[in-house]
Symmetry: C2
């Protein structure tokens, strides 16, 4: 079985021109070149993506990812992704991976070649690196200013806060800054002091019997894993809620996590060098449940 696979979509959007009778996707060599230097995905970071985890041969939260993909496309005024074509392609990519190994599928839709008439779309599948250490030992995080007010999604939609775009250079620079400070990851804070999200994860924390998260409408992503974790907590009889979170509120939590599709739940063990309690047993149950999910 190949170590990674790539499927190119012939018509990632129904609006795009092309032969409706053509195969929905074709598998190609992922190490070969398939993009020109004129693709707006690379020249302008002008596109969107999703990353789905694959557990024992099943794509997780597929419909949630597809609907978020469509929402990001709408925010960028990209042609609407053809959900059927993407679903079929994702399932084919998943089927070509070894179900015994943890894997992920990344879907990308770009605006295509400048002045062209069609978007570019692909689904890439590969095996996940081990996140055992992050899941058990946890992460030291630093709080970093995201520059924006927490209400910028409503006041200034052209800033694309809350869309999962290819313009991710800031997320990567923030993680480099964390490493420079001796930490592993980042929790972004708005310029007016509201806890937002990690560069590639959602913040979840526990206070007593409640599992909490900053929630949506703050220019942050609607977390697919956060939704699953809330579902799990509710099945245990815990309450769940979104709340406007300050750094002090986060620091006083009984426990906190960065949750994401592929790394799953990584406990936060320190914030800006101050230790935060890690509940190893609770985290292991959470990750066990996430890893056993069927869809």
């Amino acid at each position: 079985m190949a170590e990674h696979v790539l499927a190119l979509l012939s018509r990632p959007s129904r609006e795009a021109p092309g032969d409706p009778g053509a195969p929905v996707y074709r598998f190609v060599d992922p190490d070969a070149a398939h993009l020109t230097v004129l693709d707006l995905g690379v020249t302008r970071g002008d596109g969107i993506f999703e990353t789905l985890s694959v557990n024992h041969g099943r794509a997780q939260a597929l419909e949630h990812h597809l609907s978020r993909f469509a929402r990001s496309a709408a925010m960028l005024e990209l042609p609407a992704p053809d959900a059927d074509a993407w679903r079929e392609t994702i399932l084919a990519v998943v089927a070509s991976l070894d179900p015994a190994r943890e894997a992920f599928v990344k879907t990308v839709l770009t605006r295509g070649i400048e002045y062209g008439d069609r978007p570019t779309g692909w689904a890439y599948g590969a095996y996940s690196p081990s996140f055992e250490s992050a899941r058990t030992e946890g992460l030291a995080v630093v709080l970093l200013d995201r520059g924006y007010r927490h209400d910028v999604e409503r006041t200034s939609p052209w800033l694309l806060a809350g869309a999962k775009t290819l313009s991710y250079a800031i997320n990567r620079a923030a993680v480099r800054e964390a490493v420079r400070r001796g930490a592993d990851d980042v929790v972004f804070v708005s310029s007016d002091g509201i806890v937002l999200e990690g560069p590639t994860s959602t913040v979840v924390y526990r206070r007593g019997d409640a599992l909490l998260s900053p929630g949506t409408g703050l220019g942050i992503l609607d977390g697919t894993t956060q939704a699953n974790v809330f579902r799990w907590a509710e099945s245990l009889g815990m309450s769940t809620a979104f709340e406007l979170t300050t750094p002090d509120l986060l620091r006083s939590a009984d426990a906190a996590w960065l949750v994401s599709s592929v790394r799953l739940a990584a406990p936060i063990r320190a914030i800006d060098g101050e230790p935060l309690p890690v509940d190893a047993a609770f985290t292991a149950r959470m990750n066990g449940w996430l890893a056993a999910l069927d869809d």
Copy 2:
């Protein structure tokens, strides 16, 4: 002569591995695929670029662009571009274009393939579309919130404000918002009310005998064309200065422009629907001087 040309650099950075005896660049078909879907330039918008104008067969402000390219690379902690290799490649691209036509060269350096050992670099040359209408009739602009405070470059360098990165989705979304409002372009304003820049241009304005610009240190680009325009104004005996600019100050200017390498000086004829005087004769002289520059 080809309508556009593409040169791939074999070692865009001296730090990158590779045969030091290999040719610095090679020309390839710009319409063919040269990038894999694993290049961080496309998956994360993780790279930088410059766009130089080419007048009668000469690259304009070449050294200024090369030094800004190096500064952007440093801000993103990319391997330092090999200035000699880039200069040689740019000049070869320029030499392969018809000197009788306005053209541009775009240089791109990405972090390369994820987990790989080398950056990706290319120089792309093509002829410019006509900007006659923008240069003579001018642009209606809207003021749009950039979300950041004007001092974010100093307080939060991980936001990469002032670096010319491939993560440009916001710049494109802002121009779509301008078009939606019946305008042509955008002037960004900081969340604390300071005039910044256009999505792909620098703001310059005239008050009496002074030519002014918001200047650097505001998380905006150090404009190569703005520097040239200041040089020209000084040669006419005008004074030039940078000043912290508010929207009111801009609206009360005697005239204002968005200046950039390829479009040159485009007068602002309206701000949020309110007319601003256009000095057609002065603009024509400015553009004539810019278009006649030798380097």
